[in-house]
Structures are given as structure tokens and as C-alpha cells.
């Protein structure tokens, strides 16, 4: 079966994402320069709770208006430059999601949207879910949030198109640097419950 790796015989399996051809990264960077002011987005809903879809609709409404950056939601993956994957890929939606991926012209940018898209969200380890977009297709940009606010969506697109650089960096905390401070030390003991 294409794209499925068997872990424990046929009892337990795991999906293998689509492999990109080697020079695709160079093509994607070139594409980014071209679609900076005119990006066509196609929304692929892989089985989320549709809060993310409504927030994407909200992002195109007058208050947040993504069209002013040239971002337009199109009706068919044939016209799409950016594929916006939402939802933690349910088993039934894996085949349509892969069909959408093939239907879009190369090179294409894949954005995974919302907690479910990034890493499966609250349903990440369920039996009927493959758990996140990057389990089936190679992802370029992650927009976390459950659901991400329209402002976060616009920020996500700006990062995807390279207009803004990302603020969040992975952090390695140093917990042992200081002792943990006790709380409310100035309250006399006897009235403390």
C-alpha cells in the first residue's frame, strides 16, 4: 500500500509522507519570490472540527481582508500555489488530501494550519486519525493555534511568503539557574489555611 509503513504487522501502521524530488527546495524559494504579491490559496480540509475553516473565512472578510496582500482563495487545486491543510488527517481524508496534492501544479507551498494540522492537536493519537499534515505531505510552514486567530493567519501567510520573519524560536530553559521562590511568604502563619 503506497505511503503506509507497517509497525506491528497489519495491526498497527504509520503513514510515510510523500517524498519531494531533490531540487524542489530551490524551486520553492524561487516560487516564493514570484508569489510574494499574488498568492492563490486552496484550502484542503482533512477532517478537523471546522473552527479553522471558519477562521480562514473570517481572515478573508472585511476586517482582516487577506486580498489586500494578493492572497485569494481559489476553487480548484489546479489554480493553487499554496495548499492550506487544516485538520488532523482522518483515515477517510488521506486519499482526497493526496489527490489534491497531486492536482496542484509544482512547485507548491504547503501550509499546515491549526493545532490539528501541525501535530494532530487534541486528537493526535486516536485510532482513526493519522495525526497532522506532515504525516502525509511535506510541510513548509506551520501555523499553530486552536483555531489560529485571523491575525495569526495573516502573520502565518506573511511568514510563508517571506514578508515577515518568524518570532518564535525553540528555547532551551535553564531551570536550575535559580531556586524556586516560595509564594506569599509575608502572610503570618496562623491565618494561612
Amino acid at each position: 500500500m503506497k505511503g503506509i509503513k507497517q509497525l506491528v504487522g497489519t495491526a498497527h501502521t504509520q503513514t510515510v509522507p510523500v517524498v519531494l524530488p531533490p531540487n524542489s527546495q530551490k524551486l520553492k524559494d524561487a516560487l516564493l519570490k514570484e508569489i510574494r504579491r499574488s498568492a492563490y490559496v486552496y484550502r484542503v480540509d482533512c477532517g478537523g472540527c471546522n473552527a479553522c475553516e471558519i477562521e480562514i473565512f473570517a481572515a478573508t472578510t472585511p476586517i482582516f481582508d487577506t486580498e489586500r496582500f494578493g492572497i485569494k482563495i481559489v476553487a480548484s487545486p489546479r489554480h493553487a500555489d499554496i495548499l492550506l491543510y487544516t485538520g488532523s488527517v482522518t483515515r477517510a481524508m488521506r486519499a482526497p488530501a493526496l489527490r489534491a496534492y497531486e492536482a496542484a501544479p509544482d512547485p507548491k507551498i504547503v501550509i499546515s494550519y491549526g493545532a490539528c494540522g501541525c501535530d494532530g492537536g487534541i486528537f493526535h493519537d486516536l485510532y482513526c486519525v493519522w495525526g497532522g499534515t506532515d504525516k502525509i505531505v511535506p510541510v513548509d510552514v506551520y501555523i499553530p493555534g486552536c483555531p489560529p486567530t485571523p491575525a495569526a493567519t495573516i502573520y502565518g501567510f506573511a511568514v510563508a511568503l517571506g514578508l515577515l520573519d518568524q518570532k518564535l524560536k525553540s528555547k532551551q530553559h535553564q531551570p536550575e539557574a535559580q531556586k524556586a521562590q516560595l509564594k506569599h511568604t509575608n502572610i503570618p502563619l496562623d491565618i494561612k489555611v
Binding site: 501502521t13 473552527a51 473565512f57 472585511p62 476586517i63 481524508m93 483555531p147
Partner: protein, 584 residues
């Protein structure tokens, strides 16, 4: 059996036992049918009935006593009483308003139970789901197709059985492509197929509609849902504690999340008879109405988008942003409020939030009324919405749909008013039921418009008269194997939850039926006879929430009315052959 079974059966009301007359009625008309009777709350009773008399009892309660079948589900109680169990929950809306749950025990070896679908078609989805999830075979169920589980799920694995599998196990997919066979009851195979597929731009969620068309006219429609089935019920039983499930239920559906979480909290609170402080109830009521606000605005906007009136879509969404800001002000997040815990809410409305909230509500009311006038004055809106996708009264009575869909067809069904007393603070809030008669897309949109004004009044009243007192009570302890119903009125109709507490600080069984679950089967009848261009509009007017209904199927009515339909089908077929309008 005596023939006058249809008029209301009266017996002496007992204090604290609303609905006792139904139990007595069953005893009277069907002696020795009831094995065991158990009361969960003042108006919720569960009667365990013999398998043989199930169909008559249900028929009596459903058709004769004005009951509406809300949900049917299974439960693996082999560890409790050595049997599987199938529950049918009826919301009795005759003179006495209460909930009656009819339970039957299914033998663990034979794993078969009598299906009530031939008499009450609305039960078919519940029973098909019981077959999928528990492997119990409903005898007499017309539709053998798989419902909940995806096409590539192995045949013999039934996830919700306690001993079946670990909730994280992902079996090997059995097929590459979809194998769901669609049946085209009215047309023949000369009809072309229009795939309004899982990824259609107008449907904001995945669901595959197969319209059998001739040219532009829809001959018949069939649909395959369950693209969004994630298996939440198994998750609630395994990994999550009581409070985490409250967060999970917030994410059942992206639009009516809070209604589900209130519904779930009510089930545990009813089961353990926790008395939630009145302030928490009022906060929950206010937030329920805020959610209805933004959901109705969303649907009215989408309806004008489907009709091609994009300006209307954008203007309504502009006003809707104000309601999202209101939600963010009150709860800290635009959509997933995450306020509910068992026993109350975890965040309070401060004075400054309440003042700003009331100002926002007034602004939304003014802008919304302005836009509604514009929408109704738009040319050819009426021609696009009136007389389209009509839901007849007979079909409505058979499949017991809920929410604006049934209120637009003239039935007075709204949990906030019918069962208002036992639902949050609706008893003490000024609200009345909106309904219209002719059941087409236009009247559904109008019902939603009027309900928006109702919600605005309730929110303003709620924020003004917020009672003092605590917002959370934790003075109760969890007793195992207690179960109860929780019900709320979501924007699309009544959400029914049922849960049974387990013995390891986790739920034993949690069942959630969302509003659109009941509305889906009627879609087939609303689509027939319309054109392809109207399909998205009709599907949109049903205001579908696919993920609510990640367990949705089609209702196969052919078998239900076996004696009439074939005649109709033959008559239709004969029309086709001789001088069919399609033939030319």
C-alpha cells in the same frame, strides 16, 4: 391492546417524578414489558424493556405520546451486567415534557438486537453506528452499508468494545480507493453524477454529496459523511479525565463547541446530582447565546455567498467579527471558549467586561437590523430562496430533525423553551420560540434572523442581571456507574449527551449526538427536484456541521415504506420509459 392508545395517558403525578405517566402508560398497555425502572433526575427516567416488546413500546411512545427520538446508542456493559446494551432516548414533548430512555440488554454471545428502523426511520443511523462500533447486528435494518468507520477499516474490528483494541492502534488500510456504493433510488444509471466532493469550495467541511442529475435537475441525492470521524468517544473513555473531556467536547465542532461542553457537563452534573451555582448557570446561558449569535450570522452570510450575493456575505461577516470580539472579551478566546468544568465555570465576568459587552451587543443589534433590511431588499434573492429545498411536514415528522430546520417547517421544538426549566438559566430568561410554516430555504433564513434578535436580548438581560454567588462548586464526589442525559439547544438544534461515570476517575461511556446528526437524513428529500445550482444553497441552509456529525449516514427509506415505495418507483420508472420529460 386497547385501541385508544393515542390520547395522552394520565396517571396521578408524583412529586419529583415528571414523566411518571409515561412509565405507567407503558405498564398499562404493555404489561410485564418493563424489567427495571430507574430515575436519574426529576424528569429523566430509564426503563429497561424486554427485547420482544421493544418495537411496540417505542412506537407507542414515539407516535402516540408525541415523543421525538433524539439518540440511539450502544454500551459495552459486559463488565457491569454481562450484556451489551442499546439505549433509545426519547424527548417526550406531549403535555408532560420529560425524557424517557428505553434500554434493552443484548446477549453477549448472539450479539443481535431488534432494529426499530422499520417503524421509526430516525433510528437507522444510531443502529448502524451500534453495528459499526460494537459489532451488534440489528435484525431488520434495511441498510447494510458501513456508516461511521472509513472504507479502509478492517471488517472485524469494533473500536468501542472495551476489549477490542487500544485507542492508539491504527490498523493497516484495506483499500486504496473509496468503496462506498451510492444508491440512486429514483433515477437510472443514465443519470450523470455531479460530485460535490469532500473538497468543494462552498462546503466548509469535507463531506461527499453525490447528486444524480439529468442535465441540471437533481433526480436523487446520496451522501457519504464520516470524513471527520476521529473516534472521540474512545478517547473520552481512555486517556481523558472528567475535566479534560470538557475541553475535548469544546472541539467536537468548530461552531457549536461550547454547547457540547455545556451538554457534557450537564450529564455528569445530573448523574451525580450536583447543584451548580446560579451565577455559573447564567454565565453559561449568556455564552450559549453568544455562540448562537456568531453561528447564525455565519450561516446567513454563507447563504448569501451561495446565492452569489458576495457583498452580503462580506457585510454579515463584518458584523460577525464584532460578536467574535465579544466572545474574546468574555472568555479570552474567539471560538473555543474553554469555560466549562464539572460543577460550574472557571472564569467570571468582571464589571468592566459586562459594561463593554452590553455596549457591543447594542452596536451589533443596530448594524444587524440594518443589514437584514438590505438582504431582503436585494433583487432576485427571493426568487433564489423561496420554494427551494422544501422540507415537507410528513418527512419532518418521520426523521425528527431539530433546530431552525424543523422550526421553519412549523413544528414548535426548542429545548430552551420545551425543557427550559431544567436547562441552565433559561427558566428565568425572557425568550420565546420563533417558527415559520412553509419550510423552504427562505423561511429557514428568516427563523435564524429572528433568533439572532432573541439571542441579543438574552445576552443583554444576562449581562445586566448576573446573580451574585460562587461560579464553581467542588463539593461533590464521583460515584461510579451513574448515568444521565444532558441536553442543550445548539444553533442548529438540540444536542443530546449521555454519559456514564466509570470507576477509575474516568468516564465509562460518553455518547454525543449533535443537532445536524438528525437533520442530515432529511437533506435527501430537500434536494430532490431542485437544480444543481441550488444544491450548495440547500446544503448550506441546513447549516450543516459535519464535524458535529462525524457519524452521519443516509436514511434508506425504501425498505421503511416497503409497500408504497416500489409502487412509486415502478410508476416513476414507467414514466421514464414511456414519455419521460428527460427522454426528449
Amino acid at each position: 391492546m386497547t385501541n385508544n392508545t393515542s390520547e395522552q395517558f394520565h396517571s396521578q403525578p408524583q412529586a419529583g417524578r415528571i414523566g411518571k405517566n409515561y412509565v405507567d402508560g407503558v405498564n398499562h398497555f404493555f404489561p410485564s414489558a418493563i424489567i427495571d425502572e430507574e430515575w436519574q433526575t426529576e424528569n429523566q427516567v430509564t426503563i429497561t424493556v424486554k427485547m420482544t416488546s421493544l418495537v411496540e413500546v417505542m412506537k407507542w411512545l414515539y407516535y402516540d405520546q408525541g415523543g421525538w427520538l433524539t439518540v440511539s446508542f450502544g454500551n459495552d456493559e459486559r463488565s457491569l451486567n454481562g450484556h451489551f446494551a442499546v439505549y433509545h432516548v426519547l424527548s417526550m414533548e406531549g403535555e408532560v415534557k420529560s425524557f424517557v430512555t428505553v434500554k434493552i440488554l443484548v446477549d453477549a454471545q448472539s450479539q443481535e438486537f431488534i432494529s426499530i428502523t422499520p417503524t421509526i426511520p430516525a433510528a437507522v443511523w444510531g443502529e448502524r453506528e451500534v453495528r459499526d462500533m460494537y459489532g451488534l447486528r440489528p435484525v431488520g435494518l434495511p441498510d447494510e452499508r458501513r456508516l461511521v468507520l472509513p472504507d479502509d477499516w478492517p471488517e472485524d474490528l469494533h473500536p468501542l468494545r472495551k476489549d477490542a483494541m487500544d485507542y492508539r492502534q491504527r490498523p493497516q488500510p484495506t483499500t486504496e480507493t473509496e468503496t462506498y456504493q451510492f444508491d440512486n433510488q429514483l433515477g437510472n444509471d443514465s443519470n450523470r453524477i455531479v460530485p460535490v466532493g469532500p473538497l468543494h469550495i462552498t462546503s466548509d467541511e469535507p463531506g461527499h454529496f453525490r447528486l444524480f442529475v439529468d442535465g441540471e435537475d437533481i433526480v436523487d441525492a446520496d451522501y457519504r459523511m464520516f470524513y471527520v470521524h476521529r473516534g472521540m468517544e474512545k478517547l473520552a473513555e481512555t486517556r481523558m479525565g472528567y475535566h479534560e473531556v470538557a475541553q475535548l467536547t469544546d472541539r467536537v465542532c468548530g461552531i457549536c463547541g461550547f454547547t457540547h461542553s455545556v451538554g457534557y457537563s450537564n450529564t455528569i452534573e445530573n448523574a451525580l446530582s450536583v447543584d451548580v451555582p446560579f451565577r455559573a448557570k447564567m454565565i453559561r446561558t449568556v455564552l450559549l447565546e453568544v455562540e448562537r449569535l456568531h453561528s447564525h450570522l455565519l450561516n446567513i452570510g454563507l447563504s448569501s455567498h451561495f446565492v452569489g450575493f458576495d457583498t452580503g456575505f462580506m457585510q454579515f461577516f463584518r458584523v460577525r467579527e464584532k460578536t467574535m470580539e465579544l466572545a474574546e472579551l468574555l472568555t479570552g478566546a474567539r471560538k473555543t471558549y474553554g469555560m466549562n468544568l464539572i460543577g460550574g465555570v472557571r472564569r467570571d465576568f468582571l464589571k468592566e467586561q459586562r459594561v463593554k459587552g452590553i455596549a457591543m451587543v447594542r452596536e451589533v443589534r443596530q448594524k444587524f437590523s440594518e443589514l437584514v433590511e438590505v438582504l431582503l431588499a436585494t433583487p432576485n434573492i427571493n426568487s433564489r430562496t423561496q420554494g427551494i429545498g422544501i422540507l415537507s411536514k410528513q418527512v419532518a415528522r418521520d426523521y425528527s430533525p431539530v433546530g431552525p430546520l424543523i422550526r421553519a417547517s412549523g413544528f414548535k421544538r426548542d429545548v430552551r423553551i420545551v425543557h427550559g426549566q431544567s436547562l441552565e438559566a433559561y427558566g428565568s430568561v425572557p425568550i420565546e420560540l420563533q417558527s415559520m410554516e412553509d419550510g423552504d430555504v427562505y423561511s429557514r433564513v428568516m427563523v435564524r434572523v429572528r433568533e439572532v434578535f432573541e439571542s441579543l436580548n438574552v445576552i443583554e438581560y444576562g449581562l445586566d442581571h448576573l446573580p451574585a454567588g460562587a461560579i464553581l462548586t467542588e463539593s461533590f464526589d464521583y460515584k461510579p456507574n451513574k448515568f444521565a442525559l444532558g441536553f442543550t439547544e445548539a444553533p442548529r438544534g438540540e444536542n443530546i449527551h449521555w454519559s456514564m461515570t466509570g470507576d477509575n476517575q474516568k468516564l465509562f461511556r460518553w455518547r454525543c449526538r449533535a443537532a445536524t446528526y438528525a437533520n442530515w437524513p432529511t437533506l435527501r428529500y430537500m434536494l430532490r427536484g431542485n437544480t444543481v445550482a441550488d444544491a450548495p444553497l440547500i446544503i448550506g441552509s441546513l447549516d450543516p456541521c459535519y464535524s458535529c456529525t462525524d457519524r452521519v449516514t443516509i436514511v434508506d427509506t425504501k425498505k421503511q415504506r416497503s409497500k408504497t415505495v416500489p409502487y412509486k418507483a415502478i410508476e416513476q420508472y414507467s414514466i421514464d420509459r414511456k414519455h419521460s420529460p428527460f427522454k426528449l
